[in-house]
Assembly symmetry: C2
Homo-oligomer: 285 residues x 2
């Protein structure tokens, strides 16, 4: 009989362990050591959303407020699995929002620090926000979870590592999965059900992962290849309800060697819980 | 007979003079003095887009690349007309993109520096970008310039300073101007023809102004009041053609005391030249 595994919980899951940061202590305030896990790599690099979540946790430790509200990251060099250090700075502490800055560094062969990403972020208290909702955004139109496509249902379309795929419960809307069989829609859209494979519910930090964990919208335009992020800004708008998320990403402007990806993340209760936009380089097709 | 005034040009205009930065020189590399002009204030504060353009010019001086490609700003405290200092840092110099950071400070009554905004930005060379355009974005649907509404055609709807209005050639789409007569559309949209009043053509720095120079979309939702920007990220996608710009801004998600504003800027040649998203506080209506 198969062993029944307890569902992972917020604070006790692989995602939590792999985004943990360890303060260096009083001698180096605001400095945190971390280990970039090989479990969140795609093709050759550590996933950018995972990095954002990890830096986001360091800022939550460093700032007077705990919840990311708006996080802007500029990606400098490709991260690899292994040790990293995050240096944070409190920029401004306000009543309802605090602003901080963080840089994640790894080490070159001579042991010198190489900066991977730099982040500016404003943090607040999501639970303290008023309950008003006057959104005109509408939930993504996509089939039920059981009618969407998991990685076990098709050919593995991505060359290289896809370790991250094993850690996600990702089900693509078939309408945006045609690229996997050579028939991209051409619309520049990507939609998926999103969860963590071990059943851990979403929180503001896993939302930072969710906005950058789907296949690139470029794939749906027939541009299969690496679309490295230059800059990504995520807004966390609400604490997500338990249950699977839906992520819808659109690209409208492919021009000059760049494209934008706009992501919306909806929770199981029908709330728009996060929005993001990134500027990425267009894959050379 | 009225005096014929020569049209201002890029480099020789009020906008150029008011966004000029003066390097402190070899003793303080990367540090620039500036004077925030009272000419770009709205209600009580210096306009956020003007600030972004000014900081953007300092970064253009400091970085190996000249053109802003993606600029993320976190707004910390309200700026006022008067002296300011901008401290820049080269984060990474790459072949096609350089990343920099900048902070703009003003002075409190004791002469201590108070940080107003902090910016992370990646700069490049717009003229060197490839010519590919595969955009699905469509030009804003709005009436011709002469059928849109200038400030001289209606009541002055904004209490307090509106100095900036005199420096802009702004004509609102009547469909998004109902708020000025107490009849907002409720859609959360704002569209306008945009130029500088002295006829100076657009460049990447005036695009940074353009994305944050229209009335807040909150007005179109019936929420009249101050909607301070928390964070704004702008992507400059192309060097704008001469002639008036069209700016279209939409808000989809008003919730938890915040709203996002997504702006598109189109040039006279029909190109999408800039995109931006900001997170702002919802006015207390």
């Amino acid at each position: 009989m198969a062993q029944v595994q307890a569902q992972a919980t917020i604070g006790d899951s692989e995602f939590d362990r792999d985004t943990a940061v360890t303060p260096r202590g009083a001698a180096e305030p605001g400095v945190y050591d971390a280990e970039l896990s090989a479990g969140w790599t795609i093709i050759t690099a550590v996933n950018g959303g995972y990095l954002l979540a990890l830096v986001g946790r360091a800022l939550a430790e460093a700032l007077p407020h705990r919840d990311p509200i708006t996080v802007s990251a500029h990606y400098l060099t490709s991260s690899v699995p292994g040790p990293a250090v995050i240096r944070t700075e409190l920029v401004r502490a306000g009543n309802t929002l605090s602003t901080g800055q963080a840089s994640l560094f790894q080490y070159d062969e001579q042991g010198r620090e190489v900066e991977r990403i730099r982040v500016l972020a404003s943090y607040g208290d999501l639970a303290a926000l008023p309950d008003d909702v006057r959104t005109t955004a509408t939930e993504p139109v996509m089939p039920a979870f059981e009618h969407c496509l998991g990685p076990e249902m098709g050919p593995a379309p991505i060359p290289g590592s896809s370790e991250i795929v094993d850690r996600l419960a990702l089900r693509l809307d078939p309408a945006t999965a045609g690229w996997a069989v050579g028939a991209p829609s051409g619309k520049g859209e990507m939609r998926a059900w999103f969860g963590l494979a071990d059943g851990r519910d979403a929180d503001p930090f896993s939302l930072l992962l969710a906005v950058d964990a789907l296949p690139p919208t470029a794939f749906d335009l027939g541009l299969i290849g690496w679309a490295p992020t230059v800059e990504l800004t995520a807004h966390v708008r609400r604490f997500p309800a338990p249950g699977p998320l839906r992520v819808a990403i659109t690209t409208r402007n492919v021009a000059g060697g760049f494209l934008e990806e706009d992501a919306e993340v909806w929770d199981s209760a029908g709330h728009l819980v996060a929005q993001s936009r990134q500027l990425a380089r267009t894959p050379r097709a």
